[in-house]
């Protein structure tokens, strides 16, 4: 396949591996961010990284990844701290505090960036690439940094799995077990910040939150347990990274970061629609099937009642009469019941119209339907003619 042949290309391979790493780590920690309803925190962390990126560049004097990531982490942490400070000491709610912090840090970062590009040679360093990400700038040495930071984060998640899980689900209960919940939540926030920071070079500060939230949101649709959700989110994230890298490499002029985010969003759309139980399509089909079986049951019971009223088990009811009882056309319902062998057409020569009679199976099923609702039926359905 042509797309896979791209793996032979050195640059493409580097980008694909980096994107897979970033996507997997973002998926895992994004799952926790999503379940803790901290999606917007990820957005604030990534936007607030911009001033840190600029300061990291200023201090190091070069575009080496480590000081830039360190700077991004520090300014992200300061922004998170500002959110905490605002919510604790003022009457500002969390969402507003996140917005205030995000815009303040991002504005400051933009000012720094434009200034640096005029004066400190940041233009040559391509610092503005951090806005939307620049995959091509990724070199093998960067992969080592990503692998160490990302791998370290995942290791912490694996080792602290039980504690992260119980704290995310029920913090008060975790406290009653003596777990240092504040510390665990702090570690989790740092890990989420790290997952954001290592993706900035690839995806950029503006879109990085999508790579944190989208794989997790998609995985949530399919998973029944946290273990499954986290693994699936890692797979979705890594797949988004690889597919995005390959697609953007095979078309000229497609920026890698946004393409990765588009692929991740496609995972979300498909999952929202198709996932069993939680998917929109599944729920529609389920509702439709429910309504169908409800109609079928109603018609069966009507037939049974009519037979009872006439003290004749083989009483043949006219379809028009059934329509009247049912409150609408019953033809399609009856034909479906006929296919299932629950009713059959009866010959009733002198009268016009199709007549229907319950088969033995149909009678049996009607009786079963009536028994559990005996009381309710008597209370509600007393007024039938």
């Amino acid at each position: 396949m042509e797309l896979l042949a791209l793996f032979g290309d050195f640059t493409v391979r580097t980008v694909a591996i980096g994107a897979a790493l970033v996507g997997a780590v973002a998926g895992v920690l994004g799952s926790f961010a999503l379940l803790r309803q901290q999606s917007l925190l990820g957005d604030t962390l990534s936007h607030a990284a911009l001033p840190g990126i600029c300061l990291g560049f200023l201090i190091a004097g070069s575009r080496r990844l480590e000081p830039i990531l360190a700077g991004a982490l520090v300014s992200g942490a300061l922004a998170a701290l500002l959110v905490l400070l605002l919510t604790r000491t003022t009457r500002i709610k969390t969402d507003a505090a996140l917005g205030v912090s995000l815009s303040l840090f991002f504005a400051f970062g933009t000012v720094l960036l434009t200034y640096l590009q005029r004066h400190a040679g940041a233009a040559q360093a391509g610092l503005d690439a951090f806005l939307f990400g620049q995959a091509a700038a990724l070199v093998p040495r960067d992969l080592v940094v990503l692998a160490v930071v990302g791998g370290g984060s995942l290791l912490v998640v694996v080792l602290g799995w039980k504690e992260l899980k119980v704290t995310t689900f029920d913090a008060d209960f975790a406290r009653s077990l003596g777990r240092p919940v504040v510390l665990i939540e702090f570690v989790l926030t740092v890990l989420i910040a790290l997952a954001v920071v290592i993706g900035l070079q690839l995806v950029g500060v503006i879109l990085m939150v999508a790579l944190v939230i989208a794989p997790a949101a998609a995985a949530r649709q399919w998973a029944r347990r946290l273990e499954g959700m986290v693994v699936l989110a890692a797979v979705f994230g890594a797949a988004s990274g690889v597919v995005g890298a390959l697609v953007s490499a095979s078309f000229r002029g497609l920026s890698t970061g946004p393409v990765i985010v588009l692929v991740a969003s496609a995972f979300v759309v498909v999952s929202l629609l198709l996932a069993p139980e939680r998917g929109v399509v599944w729920q529609l089909v389920h509702a439709l099937a429910q309504r169908r079986s409800l109609r079928a049951h109603r018609v069966l019971v009507d037939l049974y009642r009519l037979a009872q009223d006439h003290a004749d088990l083989d009483y043949a009811s006219e379809q028009g009469m059934l329509d009247a009882y049912f409150g609408g056309p019953t033809g399609h319902v009856l034909r479906r019941l006929e296919r299932r062998g629950l009713v059959s057409r009866a010959q009733h020569m002198p009268e016009e119209g199709t007549h229907w009679v319950l088969t033995g199976d149909g009678r049996q099923q009607a009786r079963e339907l009536l028994t559990p609702f005996g009381e309710r039926d008597a209370a509600v359905g007393g007024g039938t003619p």
Binding site: L35, L159, G160, W161, K162, E163, K165, V166, T168, F169, D170, A171, D172, F173, R175, S176, L177, G178, R220, A223, R224, R225, L226, G228, M229
Partner: protein, 279 residues
């Protein structure tokens, strides 16, 4: 004044200071009580929600903490388990600070305090009750799963072990929470509104469960909101409205005067001490 405390009163300082005590440890404080709360004051953003509360729950009783909304009932439990730092006061569980007695306490939070859409199964939630025993890095194994399944069976939920918690009814969710507490095999059970929003079947199941716990010598302290049932479900009562109004055996505390002191003069009292409610 209504601040009078009934029932267990009076401090019993250890007779011989420094001597080894019955439970083999020094510094034990009021070991005669399963739960002993001393001068507890707690505030939310400056406003007192608990004021100078002294509570003494003897072991082996089913104790209800009852009071109007905002009386500080949940806050009291949170102060006991260390989820909230009191402004002043002390808490002792079987004579020792909570942090030394965690393994003897099981806490059941309000059902609505967690997100039931969390991706996990009933069995998973109950297994969390064993995390305290497992410590930080050990993972649950066969033995833990078996214990969790047994606890689920005790609340009649074993058939739902692998069910997603989002698919359970409110009563079933509450029973899962109780199973998580049972698996902790504690001596003191702290329950926040265990009867809130549950169906009749679950309510009966919980009552049976509480009586079974008492029969096994356990102590239960439950926040309760239903004045009609408190005298039949519980045998020990603490009336709370920021301050402690009264505490003691339910037959002594559940009187019109005490209830009016806790709820105000307009409380509707049914069948309290045989008196009709005052209009």
């Amino acid at each position: 004044m209504a601040g009078r405390a009934l029932g267990m009163g009076g401090g019993m300082e250890p007779a011989v200071i420094g001597a080894r005590q019955a439970d083999g440890s020094n510094g034990s404080h009021e070991p005669a009580f399963a739960l002993h709360v001393e001068d507890l004051t707690a505030t939310y953003s400056g406003d007192a929600v608990l004021w100078d509360v002294d509570l003494n729950v003897p072991p082996g009783v089913l104790a209800a903490i009852v009071g109007p909304n905002g009386a500080g009932k949940s806050t009291l439990l949170k102060c006991v388990i260390g989820a909230m730092r009191p402004a002043a006061g002390h808490v002792y569980v079987f004579g020792h600070p909570y942090r030394r007695q965690r393994h003897r306490v099981a806490y059941v939070p309000q059902r609505t305090s967690v997100d039931w859409d969390f991706p996990t199964t009933a069995l998973d939630v109950v297994t969390m009750g064993l995390y305290g025993r497992l410590g930080w890095f050990r993972v649950p194994r066969r033995r833990e799963t078996d214990e969790a399944l047994q606890a689920l069976a005790l609340v009649g939920m074993d058939a739902y072990a692998e069910r997603q918690i989002s698919q359970l009814s409110g009563g079933q969710q509450q029973r899962v929470f109780l199973a998580r507490a049972l698996v902790q095999d504690a001596d003191l059970y702290l329950m926040d509104e265990p009867f809130a929003g549950v169906d009749a079947t679950t309510e009966r199941a919980i009552v049976d469960l509480l009586k079974d716990l008492r029969a096994r010598g356990k102590t239960v302290v439950a926040v309760h909101h239903d004045l009609q049932t408190v005298a039949t479900y519980f045998d020990w009562l603490a009336l709370l409205n920021v301050r402690l109004i009264a505490q003691g055996p339910v037959t002594e505390v559940y009187t019109p005067e005490h209830l009016r002191a806790a709820y105000g003069p307009r409380v509707v009292l049914l069948g309290v001490g045989g008196h009709a409610p005052q209009p």
